[in-house]
Subunit: 437 residues, 2 copies
C-alpha cells in the first residue's frame, strides 16, 4: 500500500507539507510554496488559525464581501458575506436597496427553544419506567447543576425534560427529549454536556433502583446528543408594499407581483424547484453564517429538514397579493451564537459582528433571515423577468477573463463590450482572442 502513513498528526506543519509534496506532487517545491503563499505573514496570527482545526496546512480563502443598505425594522445594516459564488453579494445589495425604498424588512423572533435527546432502550414495563423517571427527575436536575449554574445565572438553562415512548418505531426505544434556552450561545457544548450528565444519572439511578434490581429489565444508553432540528427556534422576516410600487420600466407592478407569486407557488408544490429555490436562499444565509463564525452545516440541516416537515420538500418563502398589497416572507429555524465558538476567536468574525453592531443571537437570527429573503427576492425577480443567465453571466465575466489571464486593459475593454452584448462563456473567450490577434 503506497502513501499510507502512521503518526501524521504528530508531524509539524512543515513535515506534513513535505510528506504531501513528496507523495502527491513528485517533490515539486512549487506546490509547497503555493501553500506558503497563503500563510499570513504574522506568525502568531497564522498559528491561531492553524489551531482552529487539525492537520492545518494553509488558509483557504473565501472572499469576504459586504452588502450595504439593508433596512431592518427601521435600522440600517451593512451585511458581511463570506462566499465564493459570484453575483450573490450583488443580488443581496440590489434587493436591499430595492426594499429600503419600499419600507424595508420587518422581522420577528417567534421562539428560541433548542433540543437535545438521550436515546436509550429499556426492556421492562413502561409504567414502571414512567414512575421511576418522575421519581428521579429532581435528582437529574440536581446532578447537572455544575454544568447549568452559569447559564441559569444569565437567564437560560434547561426548559424541560420529557420521557418519550418510541417503542412503536423501534422495540424498547425511549428518549429523554429535552429543551433548552442557551441565550446568545449556539449551545452545542452546553446541551451535549447536560445530556451526557442526564444519561449518567439515568443509568446510575436505574442500577440502584429496587424496582429494577430484582427484575431482568435492562436500560441501555445508546447515545446522548443535541438536535440541529430546531422547529421551535424560529425567526420570520417579511417585506410588503402596494402592488403599484413594484412597477418598473418593462413591467407593471400587478403583472410582476402575480408572476412572482406564481413562481413561489411552484416552489411550494414542486420539489425539483423547491430545492433550487431554497438553495438560493441559503446563498444569503450561509454567507452571513460563515462571516459570523457560525456552523453552516448545522443551519443547513435544520432548515432543509424544516422545509420537508409536511411530508414533501417545499419552499421556505411564501408570497401573497391581498387588497393590492404584495407581501413576501420567510420563516427559518436558526440556532445561532454570538458568543462562544469562533465568535471571539477569529479576528474577522469579531470584525463582522462589530459591523453588525454586535448583535445578540436573536438579532443575528433576524439579520440572517433577511439575507435569505433578500437573496430569494433577487433570484425570483430575475428568473421571472430577464432570466437568470443574463445577470449571472455578467457577474461571472470577470472569472472567465481571469481564467484566460486577461490583463487590466483587456478586462476594461471586455466589461465595456459586454455592457450591451449578452455574456456567454464562448463569447467572452472569442472577445479576448480577437483582442489578442
Amino acid at each position: 500500500m503506497t502513501n499510507a502513513i502512521s503518526g501524521f498528526s504528530k508531524l509539524s506543519k512543515a513535515e506534513k507539507i513535505s510528506w504531501i509534496t513528496k507523495n502527491y506532487f513528485n517533490g515539486d517545491q512549487k506546490s509547497s510554496k503555493l501553500l506558503q503563499t497563503y500563510w499570513n505573514s504574522d506568525e502568531q496570527l497564522q498559528q491561531l488559525h492553524d489551531e482552529f482545526i487539525e492537520n492545518t496546512i494553509s488558509n483557504y480563502y473565501l472572499p469576504l464581501g459586504v452588502a450595504p443598505n439593508f433596512m431592518i425594522n427601521g435600522q440600517n445594516y451593512t451585511i458581511p458575506m463570506a462566499i465564493e459564488e459570484s453575483s450573490v453579494v450583488a443580488a443581496a445589495s440590489k434587493a436591499a436597496k430595492y426594499w429600503s425604498a419600499r419600507g424595508g424588512f420587518k422581522t420577528t423572533v417567534l421562539n428560541t427553544k433548542k433540543v437535545g435527546q438521550v436515546h436509550f432502550t429499556y426492556t421492562g414495563d413502561k409504567e414502571v419506567l414512567t414512575s421511576f423517571f418522575q421519581d428521579i427527575l429532581p435528582i437529574v436536575y440536581k446532578e447537572v447543576q455544575h454544568i447549568t449554574t452559569n447559564m441559569e445565572k444569565r437567564g437560560g438553562g434547561i426548559l424541560d425534560i420529557e420521557l418519550r415512548d418510541k417503542t412503536q418505531d423501534i422495540p424498547h426505544y425511549y428518549q429523554l427529549h429535552c429543551t433548552f434556552n442557551t441565550l446568545d450561545a449556539m449551545g452545542a457544548n452546553f446541551i451535549n454536556s447536560c445530556l451526557e450528565q442526564f444519561a449518567k444519572t439515568l443509568e446510575e439511578r436505574f442500577e440502584g433502583d429496587t424496582r429494577f434490581r430484582e427484575s431482568k429489565d435492562k436500560l441501555n444508553i445508546i447515545m446522548s446528543i443535541l438536535s440541529n432540528y430546531v422547529p421551535e427556534c424560529i425567526v420570520r422576516a417579511e417585506v410588503s408594499c402596494p402592488v403599484n410600487d413594484l412597477s418598473e420600466r418593462n413591467i407593471e407592478g400587478k403583472e410582476f407581483a402575480e408572476k412572482f407569486v406564481q413562481a413561489i407557488r411552484i416552489a411550494e408544490v414542486e420539489p425539483y424547484r423547491a430545492v433550487t429555490h431554497n438553495k438560493g436562499i441559503m446563498n444569503g444565509v450561509d454567507a452571513v453564517i460563515l462571516a459570523t463564525g457560525n456552523d453552516f452545516r448545522a443551519v443547513e440541516a435544520g432548515i432543509h429538514a424544516y422545509a420537508a416537515r409536511n411530508g414533501s420538500y417545499s419552499s421556505l418563502t411564501g408570497a401573497t397579493i391581498e387588497n393590492d398589497i404584495f407581501t413576501f416572507w420567510i420563516e427559518l429555524p436558526l440556532a445561532l451564537g454570538t458568543v462562544g465558538g469562533l465568535t471571539k476567536l477569529h479576528p474577522l468574525v469579531k470584525w463582522c459582528l462589530q459591523l453588525l453592531q454586535n448583535p445578540s443571537a436573536q438579532e443575528l437570527m433576524q439579520i440572517v433571515a433577511v439575507a435569505g429573503l433578500a437573496q430569494n427576492f433577487a433570484a425570483v425577480k430575475s428568473l421571472t423577468t430577464t432570466g437568470i443567465q443574463q445577470g449571472h453571466m455578467k457577474m461571472h465575466l470577470m472569472n472567465i477573463l481571469n481564467q484566460h489571464s486577461a490583463t487590466a486593459q483587456e478586462k476594461k475593454a471586455a466589461v465595456e463590450h459586454f455592457k450591451t452584448t449578452p455574456v456567454t462563456h464562448s463569447a467572452a473567450v472569442t472577445f479576448i482572442e480577437n483582442l489578442r490577434k
Copy 2:
C-alpha cells in the same frame, strides 16, 4: 436614514473600506488595518480573489487541513478539507486509518443525470399542447445546438426533454422536465443556457402556430432553471468487515456492531436525530466540496431533500449485520464539477484537485461520499461508546486556550494535564488561571 449609500459597488476597495470604517467603526483605523492584515502580499493574487465576487474587502480564512490514509477501491488518498470546526479532520483521519486496516472503502457511481425545468402556464387543451410539443421537439433540439455542440463533442449533452402536466398541483401549470449529462462540469451555466433557449423556442413557436393563433389560449413562461435536486446523480460508498474485526480494548465487536446498527436505526426513524446525524455527514462532505471549489449550498440542498424523499426526514447512511458481517454504507446525490467554476481559478482549489490526483467528476463524487461516510462512522462510534464530548472537547481545548491568550508554554502544560483529565470549558479556564497565580 443613516448609513444609506448610493453607488457603493462602484467605489474602489479602499473607498468601500473607508466608508464602512467611518459609518460602523467610528473611523477607527484599527478596523480597516485588520482587513488589510488578511490581504495577500501578492497584489495580483489578491486581485484575482477580490474578483471572485462583488464588494470584496478581504479574505475570510477557513483552515485548510488534510486527512491521510483513505483507502478507496484499493487506492490511497489524502483528502483536503476546508472547515472551521475542530475535530472534523481528526475524526476523518481516524476513520480512514481504521478502515484502511479493514479493507478500505468501496464506491460506485450509480447514475449521473442532472435535471432542469422550464416552468410555464398554458390555458388551452392538453392534447393540443402535447401534439404541438411533439411537433416542435426537433426544432427545440436544433435551436439549442449553438450551446450544446461542444458538450456533445465531449460525449455529453441533453438526454431527454419531457412535457409534464402539473395542472393537478396548480391550474394551467406545465413543465419541460429535462435531463442532461454534463460530464466533468457541474453544468449549471450549460443547463440554464439550454433551458432559456428551450423557453425561447417554445414561446416563439407557440406564437407562430396556427393551432393557437385563432384561439385565446395563452402560454406564459414563468421561469427556466436547473434543479439542484439530483436523485439520479447518485454515488454509493461502503465499508464492510467481519464483526469480530471490530473488537477493541473496551468492547466486543459484536456488541459494538449491534449498538452501532441501533444508532443508525434511530437516525432512520427519528427526524430530530436524523438531522444531526446527517449534519455530521455534511461536515465531511462540505469540507471536500469547499476545498475542491464546488458549491456546498447546491450539494446541501440536494442531499437534505433526498434525505426527506420518502415523506419523513431520515438518515443518509444505513448499517446491517448479516452472517456476522458488519456493513455500513451511504448513498448521496452529488452534482459536482472538476472543470469550470472556481476549479481552475482558485490556486488552492487547483492544488487540492492535484492532491486528489486530478479526479474526474465521477471520481470526486466517490471521494466526497467516502468523506461523508467516514465522518459518520467516527461520530456514531464516539456517540455509542465514549460519548461525543470527550473527544470533541479535547480537540476544542486549543480554542479555549487561544481565547485566553495562552502562551506556548501554558498550552504545553494544558495539553499534558488534560491527557488524563476530562476537558470542560471551566476546567480549562481554571487550569490557566491557576498557572498564572
